[in-house]
């Protein structure tokens, strides 16, 4: 079964009486364990697509099946639950809580999980994740005491703390120099290969896309280059 399946997804924004179609019929499937790059120029609709894929937004029409669940009609609270259970996010500007230790930053999503972990379990889980991204000796540091690469690794640990099956990275290397970018991308590759986490990297940088195994190009709200598995097959099930 596919992890992600979009069927003819449209998204239209309304500014006053003017309708602005951003996504014009996107159909797409992503299998579990894929490492995908979502590429496109600014204004191409890739951010909108990523918001829909990340259950932050709902499509105007079309269906979005995530892990066997139709999510396009879910309420905002239900989508919050889906985000918490199944998805992890890594942002361009890290979005760490200031003046809060790395450990607490990583443990933050755990406070919203339905399964109530004890404080000690939550702490353990967070420590585990920080070890996994190689920050075992930086646990009590605050974001301001960490380098950009380290901050992004804290953000990755935070995204992983709920054991998501799908990780979204929105321009994860946009604020990093080329060396740390390599490190972070290598980490994505490692997570993808070793742990089988499906990763979708949104980027406009071709060199980032090179690190992935599949590239989806978006232009003016449609997929121009579907690449291997997907293809523009409206309503099609792969």
């Amino acid at each position: 079964m596919e992890l992600i399946e979009l069927r003819d997804v449209h998204k239209t924004y309304y500014i006053g009486d003017i309708s602005v179609p951003v996504l014009k019929g996107i159909s797409l499937t992503v299998a579990p364990g894929e490492l995908v790059a979502l590429m496109g120029a600014s204004g191409s609709g890739k951010s909108t697509l990523m918001n829909i894929l990340g259950c932050l937004d709902r499509p105007s029409s079309g269906e979005y099946w995530l892990d066997g669940q139709e999510t396009s009609r879910l309420s905002s609270d239900q989508r919050a639950l889906v985000r918490n259970r199944k998805l992890g996010f890594v942002f361009q500007n890290f979005n760490l809580l200031p003046r809060t230790s790395a450990l607490e930053n990583v443990a933050m999503p755990l406070s919203y999980t339905a399964e109530h972990l004890s404080d000690r379990q939550a702490r353990q889980r967070a420590e585990e994740m920080l070890c996994r991204v190689g920050l075992q000796d930086r646990m009590d540091h605050e974001p301001s005491q960490l380098s950009g690469g380290q901050q992004q690794r804290v953000a990755i640990a935070r995204a992983l703390v709920n054991h998501p099956s799908l990780l979204f990275a929105d321009e994860p290397t946009g604020n990093l120099d080329s060396h740390t970018s390599e490190e972070v991308l290598a980490m994505f590759q490692q997570l993808n290969q070793a742990d089988g986490i499906t990763i979708i990297v949104v980027t406009h940088d071709a060199s980032v896309a090179e690190h992935t195994r599949r590239v989806i190009h978006i232009h003016d709200g449609v997929i121009v280059n579907g690449a291997p598995a997907a293809g523009a097959r409206p309503g099609g099930v792969a």
Binding site: R83, T100, S111, Y112, N162
Partner: protein
């Protein structure tokens, strides 16, 4: 999110910006502090005012003997002799709501000093307790003692008016005055009280041991001597029948009339004209009345349904004034309290709104990782409440400290008010909820996408 975790998260969030948290709570701290200080100083002053009013006699209960009636003609209050000095002692002993009680025997007759004379509007034979009941200070000299009462000593204390009339400015202390040909030594002069609420001069008074007045001056009950300036020189000794006798056969032989006339000793059972009692507080007046009534029923063997042989009067008018004064004070303070807390709450709301705007990205992030809007609402609400409660606690300390300083250095009367403290905690929590709700609601309505993109 679990409750304690929410609170911990709120504490952490507040600690991230301690300066601002501090300044935010300042409104509440000052508000609650002002309320507590006002309440403590206010209740202090109000109880001082109450005390002043009750010194006018607002707490005084007047126990009068009952009414005699003959053939359908009743003779009015005090026309039978049913009260004994022992009643007074027992009232003081057995009624917990009664602070102090004094028997009183009244007379109205001429007082003579040298070539001057005067008929004071009241001559009271009583005990030292009378001064306690009326909260009356002795300005010069001292009051007579219980020993004077026991020995029917011929000493007296004069009111200011009487002193002015008889002595024309000279000090009366140690002087002998004559009341119905009995000479009294003046041992003290009362402080001035002025007119009472009915316009009667309260300083026109002579106080003496009740035994002296009863057995040496009037020699009989009030009703018989109520004519002013009676020139009769009756020295007849009161040998009233033992109204409420409960004693067995007497140890000593009865004294003859001659002996009794030669040696006027207090007779064990005799009647008095009234008992003055003061309730501990004005609120306890009804309780005190109940206790005295029950006690006198028992002592006077009055069965249920039978008519009382006494009446109790209290100063309803004064106690009403008193309670309305207190009420006014309380309401005034409450208004001030509300205004300052509302101002503090607006401060909280203001800063929380700023905080929500400033932490838009954080809110977006929390939503992205799975916080529902009610989680966000709760987080910000709890933050506001924690701020208010901490502010409230500090305000209580501040207010209490402030009022302690006022007591220490300005010597104002201050009274710690647990109700005010409880109310302050409650009110500051509700201020947190009321004024924290809008910012928290605003935060919870944010769109995660917009919030994440917010710069």
């Amino acid at each position: 999110m679990k409750g304690h975790r929410t609170i911990r998260a709120a504490m952490k969030a507040l600690r991230r910006n301690p300066m601002r948290a501090m300044l935010t709570t300042l409104g509440i701290i000052i508000g609650v502090g002002a309320v507590i200080a006002m309440m403590e100083i206010g209740t202090g002053s109000s109880s001082a005012i109450q005390k002043a009013i009750s010194s006018m006699g607002a707490n005084v209960l007047l126990v009068m003997p009952g009414t005699a009636a003959s053939g359908g003609v009743s003779f009015g209050e005090g026309s039978v002799m049913t009260l004994t000095p022992q009643d007074c002692e027992v009232i003081l002993r057995d009624c917990p709501s009664v602070r102090i009680a004094a028997p009183a025997v009244r007379a109205r007759t001429q007082v003579v000093y040298g070539n001057r004379n005067w008929v004071p509007s009241s001559i009271y034979g009583t005990t030292q307790g009378f001064l306690g009941v009326r909260d009356w200070a002795v300005a010069e000299g001292e009051a007579f003692t219980d020993r004077d009462v026991l020995n029917s000593n011929r000493v007296c204390v004069l009111g200011q008016t009487l002193v002015r009339q008889l002595f024309e400015g000279a000090s009366p202390l140690g002087k002998e005055i004559r009341v119905k040909n009995i000479s009294f030594r003046v041992v003290g002069v009362l402080a001035s009280k002025g007119a009472n609420m009915m316009g009667m001069d309260q300083d026109d008074i002579l106080l003496a041991p009740w035994t002296t007045i009863k057995y040496r001056v009037t020699g009989s009950a009030l009703v018989n001597t109520n004519q002013s300036a009676s020139s009769s020189t009756s020295t007849a000794v009161n040998t009233l029948s033992n109204l409420y006798s409960s004693s067995g056969p007497s140890l000593y032989p009865d004294r003859s009339d001659v002996q009794a006339a030669d040696n006027p000793m207090p007779v064990r059972f005799s009647n008095i004209d009234q008992i003055l009692a003061a309730a501990k507080t004005s609120a306890e007046i009804p309780t005190a009345i109940g206790q005295v009534t029950a006690l006198l029923h028992e002592r006077h063997h009055i069965r249920p349904g039978e008519a009382d042989d006494f009446t109790i009067r209290d100063m309803t008018e004064m106690s009403k004034t008193l309670s309305s004064t207190t009420m006014l004070m309380t309401n005034l303070l409450l208004c001030v309290a509300l205004i300052s807390l509302v101002v503090g709450g607006v401060g909280i709301m203001n800063i929380m709104l700023v905080s929500v705007t400033e932490r838009t990205r954080e809110i977006g992030l929390r939503m992205a990782v799975g916080a529902r809007s009610r989680d966000i609402l709760r987080q910000f609400l709890v933050e506001a409440i924690v701020l208010c409660l901490v502010g409230g606690a500090m305000g209580i300390l501040l207010g209490h400290g402030g009022s302690s300083l006022v007591r220490r250095f300005l010597h104002w009367p201050v009274q710690t008010s647990p109700t005010a403290i409880a109310a302050a905690v409650l009110v500051s929590a509700s201020v947190g909820i009321v004024f924290g709700f809008y910012p928290a609601w605003k935060a919870s309505r944010l769109d995660p996408i917009e919030a994440l993109r917010y710069e």
